[in-house]
Amino acid sequence: MSIKKFVVGGFTDEQVLFSAVKKVRSSGYKIHDVYTPMPIHGLDKAMGLRETSLHTAGFIYGITGTTTALSGIGWIFLSDWPLNFGGKPHFSLPAWIPITFELTVLFSAVGMVLTFCYLCQMAPFVKKHHFNLRSTDDLFVMVLECTEKNNESDMSAFLNSLGAIEVNVQEAETGWWLGRYDKDSKPFEKKKASLA
């Protein structure tokens, strides 16, 4: 967790954003992240993000569920407490399948939701810095990270030349923190003040 300096550019057009992302990457600036109001097909590829490992995790959770169900039912009905159900053999795989299926689905679903929250760093009371509140409404926000090698005025000018409608420089916390937002960035209070 550390405070870093960021150059934040807002775009209103998806096509402009796509070409801007490509040009920023080829020029060597470091993209911190791109925030968009809705999912945009192909943006992850354009940004060069690696493929998510969520589905691999889901597969492992599913296999765990299958194993849990089969070994659990197997242990109960074969060794711990064998019961006679309508003269069926103790080892009755077809009867076990529905529960095995359900546990597979349950494990993979719950596990994937938790993993998703972990990967996105989402949890109750976990807060992250918002670069531009309009990124949840009508603006595509690209955030570049400043390093020692480049200066922010060059980066701002570059973003402007790529079609950003508003560009500003912010110093912000990179990680997450527990608790509340600072008063300045409280979205609704700010709005009230400006209205009055």
């Binding site: 097909h41 192909g42 589905h55 597969f59 309508g86 069926k88 077809p94 009867a95 399948i97 529905p98």
Partner: protein
């Protein structure tokens, strides 16, 4: 412009399709002399029934595919829609063949295939007597004529609608009207499809091989078992045409979706298969378990498990990852495997009822199947070559070009 291009059948393809049809005809003749006089021709007629019904339902599934996607106002399939239409045109020749075979069974009084054709047996059997309104030659023939006839009619109508805009660019208003017309005719076809494949027709053609036994899930199960190879057939044709350089608007995104269809409906098939099996296994009532007696424990146990391995385990494990659904090699391999796997499924549906003692599978079955494969190849290529491969004035074509999964 390149999107006007028509399919030209490569000579090797034509040779192969004709050769396969030759093999089919040869098998038919050899099989006729070998088997048609043996035990009332059970072996011979079962093979014909299994193959003709299976391949008819498979090509009809291609028609269901484009009607269902049209009804859902889907746009992604437009770039290869003509391929599915061409496959669906095979309903005409295969439907005719299937119709002749079914008529021959009924008029030839093949009670060794359909036991309800035996009037003496029905007279002295309360259960069959109660079903005699449904399982009677007249209802069977009328329903078969309606089934195949209306499939052909609606399919023809849908293909004509598809072609009528080839030379006339549409305005937005005309486009809306055109889409609506497509939707209505697709809905009519789907309605008839629901009454045939999804309910009555498999009961008549296949389930009545065990006249006493019944399962309300049987038609859904048959539908799933024909839809998976139907999608696999579409995938094979799309990949083949891509490799020849046609269909330039169809790319890995479309193939990925076809792979998803195969994957999803393989799981759907397993779901229905298992639901039918488990309820009967659990209740353990002899009038129901009689169906699985030959298959689960008898001579067909090997096919029973092979069926599950090819049609459930293989797609589950192989199609699970994203990359395998986007790879031409995996898609081709799995499509062929699934077409074969569901052929096996239909094989045990038919032969498990008509020849309970042993599995008589030999070259004759594969020869007849090869004949149908050749017929599908030949007819699809013939229909594909007649019209432009891409409906370039279709209002949804752009949606298909920019399709992204």
């Amino acid at each position: 412009m390149s999107i006007k291009e028509n399919f030209e059948t490569p000579s090797r393809y034509k040779t192969w399709s004709l050769a396969l049809m030759g093999v089919g005809a040869l098998s038919l003749i050899v099989g006729y002399f070998l088997y048609s006089n043996q035990d009332g021709g059970t072996r011979f007629w079962s093979a014909l029934l299994q193959n003709s019904v299976y391949f008819l339902l498979v090509v009809n599934a291609a028609m269901f595919f484009f009607a269902a996607t049209t009804l859902a106002w889907g746009g992604w399939q437009i770039s290869f829609r003509r391929v599915t239409e061409a496959i669906a045109a095979c309903v005409i020749p295969i439907g005719a063949i299937c119709f002749v075979i079914l008529l021959a069974l009924v008029f030839g009084h093949k009670s060794n295939i359909y036991e309800w054709l035996n009037k003496d047996l029905v007279q002295h059997d309360e259960a069959l007597k109660g079903k005699s309104g449904f399982l009677s030659p007249s209802f069977f023939i009328v329903w078969t004529i309606l089934t195949i006839g209306l499939w052909i009619l609606f399919g023809y109508r849908l293909r004509v609608i598809s072609r009528e805009i080839d030379d006339t660019p549409l305005t937005v208003q005309e486009g809306k009207k055109y889409i609506w017309k497509n939707t209505v005719w697709s809905a009519v076809y789907i309605f008839w499809f629901a009454l045939t494949v999804a309910s009555v027709t498999p009961w008549l053609w296949l389930m009545s091989l065990n006249a006493h036994w019944f399962s309300t899930m049987y038609s859904w199960y048959t539908f799933a078992s024909s839809f998976v190879p139907g999608i696999a057939l579409i995938t094979l044709f799309v990949i083949y045409l891509k490799n020849l350089g046609y269909l330039e608007f169809t790319n890995k995104e479309h193939l990925h979706d076809l792979g998803k269809f195969q994957f999803a409906f393989s799981i759907f098939w397993t779901y229905l298969w298992f639901s039918q099996f488990m309820l009967i296994w659990y209740a353990n009532i002899s009038e129901e378990t009689v169906y699985f007696k030959t298959r689960f424990e008898g001579a067909y146990a090997g096919l029973f498990y092979l069926n599950l391995v090819i049609n459930f385990l293989a797609p589950l494990l192989i199609y699970m990852s994203r990359d395998s659904k986007r790879s031409y090699a995996t898609l081709t391999f799995m499509s062929v495997a699934l077409i074969f796997g569901h052929w096996i499924d239909f094989y045990q549906m038919v032969f498990g009822s008509t020849m309970k003692d042993h599995v008589p599978m030999n070259l004759f079955d594969f020869g007849v199947a090869a004949g149908f494969v050749g017929l599908i190849m030949w007819n699809t290529a013939r229909v594909l070559g007649k019209y432009p491969m891409i409906p370039q004035n279709h209002p949804f074509l752009k949606e298909s070009i920019i399709h992204h999964t």
